[in-house]
Symmetry: C2
Subunit: 209 residues, 2 copies
Amino acid sequence: MEKIDRLVSQRRRIRKGEHLYRAGSSLAALYAVRAGFLKSCVLHEDGREQVAGFHMMGDLLGMDAISGGLHMSNTVALEDSEICEMPFPLLEQLSREVPSLQQQLHRVMSREIVRDHGVMLLLGSMKAEERLAAFLLNLSQRFAARGYSPTEFNLRMTRAEIGSYLGLKLETVSRAFSSFQDQQLIAVRQRYVRILDLPGLKAMLDSKR
Amino acid sequence: MEKIDRLVSQRRRIRKGEHLYRAGSSLAALYAVRAGFLKSCVLHEDGREQVAGFHMMGDLLGMDAISGGLHMSNTVALEDSEICEMPFPLLEQLSREVPSLQQQLHRVMSREIVRDHGVMLLLGSMKAEERLAAFLLNLSQRFAARGYSPTEFNLRMTRAEIGSYLGLKLETVSRAFSSFQDQQLIAVRQRYVRILDLPGLKAMLDSKR
DNA sequence: CGGTTTCTTGATTGGGATCAATAGGAGTGG
DNA sequence: CCACTCCTATTGATCCCAATCAAGAAACCG
């Protein structure tokens, strides 16, 4: 138990705009978000970059580095954040000694795989407005699960970052926001979003087949 | 050691078209492909389905079920296949006892995450022909790594399945094949593909920015 | 063989990208 | 605190790539 305490005792503060880790740096630890908001970006050889995920309290980061010992993405704070740094060798050792920890680790990695498959589905088969609806609903759910309002929140990312994540251009994201507003589904002013019609938003996903 | 023998002793033959597992079925085991070729498909609530991956010798399947205890995808053999079935509880136990097995498991799950991020990049930022080029190069690499020809192989999947995986319609896939053939990059007749200009194919990926 | 699935190719359409211009906020330094 | 600048967001106009619609051809299978 004291080992587990030691595991989660390493804290780290990241200021807005700073990197938690960069692609190419070696795996030192996995990171649990204690507070704040971050994005991670995967990169193509040619310099293309794409947002692969947005992360908030409770999310675990850095798992892409386990396979090759090197991080394969950049992770940057979108607001001042607090991170719990778990040295990976210690985590591996403890997960051998504590079955429940082992199971937890496996579940978290599996959840990341399932999440990625969901994004693949979104990118491969949804139209622009469906993608944004799915994105907003996902944020809503995650805020709700953390005790925040599911219908009212501030986006921490720009339209361009949302677009990158959703495989759209920022203008398209902006237009989709405006369209939702016209349809009375949401009220949006800059980064502040209020969901007016949650069922209506959900209906956008399955109604369109 | 004999436990590991027991772990990998369970074999299962899957005929072309049969399911290895279905979405909703509970996690019994992870599956290693011994021979053959399979696809796995993720599904949307509304019935939409998308190919999430193609799998061949050496690939490990079923990891999406660890997080919730239920498979989140359908996995189907595209040709007669042989699968090694590893009961998951036994795998967890052994990975506690054998550190190298534990590391192996973590690496494989991490590799799946990295692979998924690559597909997300493809779906989010590439044009049709770039996607097909990336797909063919990926297959080529994987065949090469298994001792088969990297430049000559039979596709086991239909144009529609390739399209589903790449976020394209089957007609677009067919046109891209024809275009590559016109450009002397490949020779293709139905499912038989011969890569004539590997560097040329690679150039399609970074030349276009 | 006949029937069915798969593939190719052509014509047209449409959704999102691109180009462009303006406006709104946020941060900075005087 | 305000003026200035830069970044971010909105909106319009046009274009282009891939989807859709459609028709045949080729391969596979019982």
